[in-house]
Structure formats: C-alpha cells, structure tokens
Symmetry: none
Subunit: 411 residues, 2 copies
C-alpha cells in the first residue's frame, strides 16, 4: 500500500488546492504505481505524529510533502525522528550548500535555516536544485519514506528523478506493470481528440485511455496492463492511435513541450523571426526567448504599446490609426510590412488587439485580436475572437500565433 501525507495548515483551511496530491498521484500512476491513500494534515505536532503512526501500520511506501522549511511551523523531520525513535544528525555538506546559497545572494544564512541540514539518521539526502530545503529518503523496517518539500517546483524534479527511480528499484513488487504510450497533441480540444480515436473503442481487456488537458496541449495516454493485455492486440491499438492522431500529435516525449518543439523547429530551419507586439506586450517575445538557442533566430522585437510608438518605431500611418483604430487588420498589416522591411527576417509577426478588461466596443469586443504574419514573402492576417481574462486572451494569442506558424513551417 502506498500513501501520501500532505502537510500544512494552508491545505486544512482551504487556502490552497492540494495540487501536489494530484500531481504525485498522476505521476506515480503514469509510471505504474497507485497511491492508494492521500491524507492532508495540519502543521500541528500531535496531528502529524498521529497520522505518521497510523500510516506506518499499513503502508509500504509513504511520501510526504511540506514541513521541511526553515520556520517554526515546519516540523516534518523533527516529528518523524521522534515517532520512529531515531536520532537527528547534521549533514555538513548540506549545511555548506545552504550557506553558499545565501552567500551567493550576498546574505548571511539565518540561524533558522540550520535545521534544514538535519536529517533522520540513516537517510539519503534528495538534493533540491531550486531551493534550500532538500528532501530525504529513509528506509525504516519495511517502510520506504520519501520526504519532500511542499513547493511544487522544488518537489516535482525530486519525484521525477529520485523517487521514481528508487520505487522502480526497491518496490517493483508494488508496480502495476503498466505500459503507457503518450500522445501529445496541439490544435484541437479534448472532445475533438476523443472523437478522432473513437474507432479504438470498445477497448480490449487490459487497455485504458486517459485524457489530460495541459493547456494548450492535450495529452492522451494509452495504458496497457501487461499482466492482462495481449501483445499483438496492444500493438494494433497503438498503431491505430498513431494514425488517427496524425497531424495533431507533435510529440510522444513527456519532456518536449510545444514551446520547445516549435522554437527548436525554427532554429533547426534557421528561420529568423522579428516581432512587433501591442496587446501581448512582450509575451510572444518572452515565449520565444524562453527556449535556449533562441538568440539564433530572434534578432529583436518591438513592443509598440502606444499609437505614438507604432508611428515612431514602425512607421504606421497616422491616418490608418485614426480611420481604422489601432486594433484593426490594417494596422496589423502596416506593422508587419514595415517590420519586414526593417528587419528582413524570414518570419515577421505583428499583434494588435483588445486584451481587456476595458477598451471593447460593439464592433470590436474585448478579445478581438489581429495577428499579421509574413512567412517569407507571403502575408496573412489571423482574426482572433478570444474570451476569458486579460491574461488568458494574451496567452491564447501567443499560442494561436505559434500554432499558425507551426502549420506554415510544416507545409
């Protein structure tokens, strides 16, 4: 039996949603393990002690998150040590690392952080590449403890590397023997994807399919229980899915995001890009430059937020701005044309739109966005009618633009 213990008052009073539970449960499941139970418990010492004691009676694997920080309400190590009747020992290397972490930021390590270098005797430290709180792994009798920090971005890499590897090595008997094929899709919604693969239903015994929306991507997983499923049947279904998802499945690699995929494609094809953004205000440029190596393709970008700057930096005609408005096909086109002339890039993108919450009108409601794209010497304008918050409209504009570019590059 595998159990998660999620520690923190912020979970018990509903301040935050326990996304760690979902993420860990899912990651384990994708790797053939099942988190039978998960419990949220407060920072209270007695509560935590009780939960650990009870869990010890049943579970073979216990994964905890939270309570490894430097403050007074972080008690996981301390309570675990006391409950198991172990000693707490200092790890000098970790202490040095924490000191260095602060030194690098020109600060002296506060006294409080010292406790993050203490671990239960006999435990293996799980390094934290993104913060000061390392996790640890401890075998106690028949029970495998993995104690991880509660901050998702620190916890996740520890699960992906250390926890999964250790489970596969030391607890393979708990594995469901699942084989999972992943199809990462872009450009269609969840139900559309489901429709495309309808011919594989009803699924043969031992096979199941799950959907996950990871905006803007849809991840489809085919799970094959190798204890039950016939190999030949599984192979056929896999082929059928590959065929059905052709054109929208951009990768089967869990580590490849759409962002990496499209930007690396531009880099490989040596396609120089220039960008002029209004309503997205830098988001598209930030999307491109997030990928290492993007300096090979992005020379510069202009965030022309005001009308003045559209005229000054992009030679947009004053009359066009006055007669058509800054948010118009015509302005998008002038922005793109003049940037094309200025930069000579292979790809030129201009964006002008109304991100809201104000600024909409009957003819051009909030969410109206024009995207002008030059691909080599061919020009086209996308008209988007988006909904949602300001941030959603801005992000969606970036994704739709990159999807359009993806189509052009594939042609």
């Amino acid at each position: 039996m595998m159990q998660g213990i999620f520690i923190g008052n912020e979970l018990c009073d509903g301040r935050i949603v326990n996304t760690n539970q979902q993420w860990i449960a899912k990651t384990l499941h994708d790797n053939g393990f099942f988190l039978n139970r998960s419990i949220c418990v407060s920072d209270d010492e007695d509560d935590l002690k009780d939960v650990i004691k009870e869990t010890l009676k049943k579970a073979r694997v216990i994964i905890t998150t939270g309570g490894l920080g430097p403050t007074e309400d972080d008690r996981t190590t301390e309570v675990l040590v006391r409950t198991l009747g172990k000693n707490s020992v200092i790890n000098k290397e970790v202490l040095d690392e924490i000191r260095n972490y602060f030194k690098k930021n020109n600060r002296k390590m506060p006294k409080e952080n010292e406790k993050q270098a203490f671990f239960p005797e006999g435990s293996i430290v799980i390094p934290n590449a993104r913060g000061t709180a390392p996790g640890f792994y401890l075998q106690h009798d028949d029970v495998h403890f993995f104690c991880l920090p509660g901050v998702p971005r620190e916890m996740k890499p520890m699960v992906e590397s250390f926890v999964l590897d250790t489970l596969k090595m030391n607890c393979s008997d708990l594995s469901l023997n699942l084989e999972t094929s992943l199809y990462k899709c872009i450009g269609k919604g969840e139900s559309h994807c489901a429709e495309l693969i309808q011919s594989v239903y009803p699924l043969p015994e031992g096979l199941s399919i799950s959907f996950q929306v990871k905006f803007p991507e849809i991840h489809i997983r085919l799970h094959i229980n190798k204890h039950i499923a016939l190999e030949k049947v599984s192979k056929n279904i896999k082929q059928e899915m590959t065929h059905a998802l052709k054109g929208i499945c951009f990768s089967q690699d869990i580590n490849m995001t759409f962002q990496d995929y499209i930007i690396n494609k531009l880099i490989t094809q040596k396609l120089k890009i220039s960008v002029a953004e209004s309503c997205t205000g830098g988001l598209l440029s930030a999307f491109i430059t997030a990928v290492p190596g993007s300096s090979q393709i992005l020379d510069y970008a202009l965030i022309t937020y005001s009308n003045d700057s559209k005229m000054k930096l992009l030679d947009v005609n004053k009359d066009t701005l006055n007669s058509q408005g800054a948010v118009s096909e015509e302005v998008a086109e002038e922005m793109a044309k003049n940037l094309k002339r200025q930069s000579g890039s292979d790809i030129v993108v201009s964006i002008t739109g109304i991100a809201g919450p104000d600024g909409g009108s009957e003819n051009k409601p909030v969410g109206t966005v024009y995207v002008g794209i030059f691909f080599h010497n061919e020009y086209q304008c996308l008209t988007l009618n988006l909904s949602g918050s300001r941030e959603m409209i801005r992000q969606n504009t970036v994704f739709k633009t990159m999807m359009a570019l993806n189509d052009m590059v594939n042609c």
Copy 2:
C-alpha cells in the same frame, strides 16, 4: 477533530484534482471550523472500510464525498452500514423522488438507481436539488457523519445549507472563533521574514503564525483564537508584527498581488516607463502590460536580443560591445542612457545578462545580470548573481527589478 473522506479512484490516480477538499475546508474555515484532516481513498471496499474504521477512533465530525451514485463502484452507504453494524432501510419518499426525476426526463428509472433510496437506519436525508443522489446525516455514538455526493454542484448547496447549520447547532464546541491578520511581504525570503518577527515568540496562548511562500511573495498569517487569546495581548502582537515587517509588507489585502501593487503605484504616480530587454526577452514588458491600465505608463519597449539590434535600436557603441561584452555594466548603461534620451520616460530600465544554460564564463557565470535603471535623472546599475534554471533567472531578474523600482518609488 473534524475529518473529510474523499472517495474515488479518479482521486487516487490523479485524474482529477480534489477541489471538493479545498472548497469544503475553506467553507468550514470561513465559518469558524477547521478540517484537521482530509483523506482520499479509492473505491475499493476494503480500503474504504479501513479508512472509516480508523477515522471513527479519532474524529467527532466526518464528512464524506463520493460513492453515493447508482453504479457498482458506489459503495459508501453499504460500507458505512456494515462498518457501523447498522441496518440499511429504504426511504419511500426518496424512491418516489428518484422515479419522478426520471419520469420528468421521459425515462424509466434503471434498477441500479433503487439503491440510492437506501440509507443507514436513523439517518436524516439531505435533499439533492440537482441530481438523484441525496446525502444523509447520521449521528453514531459521539460521531456526526455527513455523507455527500461527489459532484461539486450537487454537494456544495448541501454544505452551505444543511451541514453548516447542523454543525453550528450540534458541534458549536468545535468552532474556532478565529481572527486572522495577513501580512503580504516581498523582497525577503521565508527565513528572513521569520527572523524579523522573532521577537513575538514564544507566542501567547491562542495565537499562532503560519508562513506561505507564493513566489515572489511571502504571506505571513497571524491567527488569533478569540476563545483563548486576550484582546490586549493580541493587539500588541499585531502592532509588533506590523512594525517588524515595515518596509517589506506591501499589503494586507488577500486580493492584491505584488504585480498589481507596483504597477498601480506607477500608474497612480503617472511615472512613464520604457524598457530595453536583452536576456529577459520580453518578460519585464509582459509583467508590466499584464496589469490593466498599464498603457498609461508604458509607451514602448525594445527587445534587443542581438548585438546588431543593440547598436541599431539603442546606439550602443560597437567598441563597448567588443571590449566589455554584451553582458556588462557598460552596455547596460549605454542601453539605459540612450533609451532615456530616445523616450524621455521618467523610468528607464535596461537588462542584459546570461540566462543560460550556455553562455557563461568564469568571470561571468550563468545568472550574471546587469540591470540599469534611470529613476528620473538618477542612474544606478544592479548587478545580479542569480541561480536556477533559465526561466528562474529570467523571472527573478524581473522581480528584483520591480523590487528595486518599488524602493525608489517609496523614497
């Protein structure tokens, strides 16, 4: 002690996030109750039975969601009845209601739905206005059971009416009567914040403090149990915390993010800003333009990613680039000076740095970033030595820049 039990395989394999837990915990907390523990458990009969048995030993109030549907894997009522050694009895009125529900939709009630009219002997039915699965309330010895459906829109009205009223009536001794003061801090890490308020420890009875990292913000909460704490003592502690966190606490309002806070401050003070970004590649501009109304202060921004564009758009001297390198104090200064001249903005920010993963050297490792800032006519250069991934270095650069601006605006 109050405990939630959340039943369903979809929770244990991570298919869905347990938003019911967060919603119930928050609703209870807003009404003065604390859900000490929450457990997710699979549909498996033995697992569920074990969890109910264990919970019975500790909890005064048990709230369950899920497992009240008509299908074979819905087992809450059945397992509860068996675990408590009670009889299951049919409720004719409920049966008629379910029949009518189907009749209204021109369907005959499937045989499976009959089981939804069975309840543990002695329980009170909690009507479901939005589905066929009613909940029920059962007192067993000292324990109060509330069993609710798992569908959020069916479950929520039951909590808001029946559960809260019944808790206030029958379990008022569990009410916390909590008052919480929030301090939203920026610019210091969790342990540094803890150090600043060290003088309030040891806390008087009835008071507690919790920390929450919401990068880049640290949220500190002072919880006052009004049953126990003395009013005068609480007031003093509140004052002491306000004093200790002066300068880093930017808001006590839960809805105010640092981003909104600083950008709105610039808007209020009518401080025009221009930006020239290299390694952050648009992230700072996107940060600013994410806030509605930012068009009043941001005229334009230049993403000068290449050396060429630094020369072309910002008149950076070729010799400076060659002798000092693009990532240097000197280039940051030229970028800022020339942008200041071009734009005439009150605030001018230039950023040049090495976001990694490649491009670092011994003298200038990955994470070296220079931020040139003009605030009116005063110039200063921040030298940052950041660590972490490319994305973390880029984001941290933006946050550090905004924090520096915040200090300048406050002076």
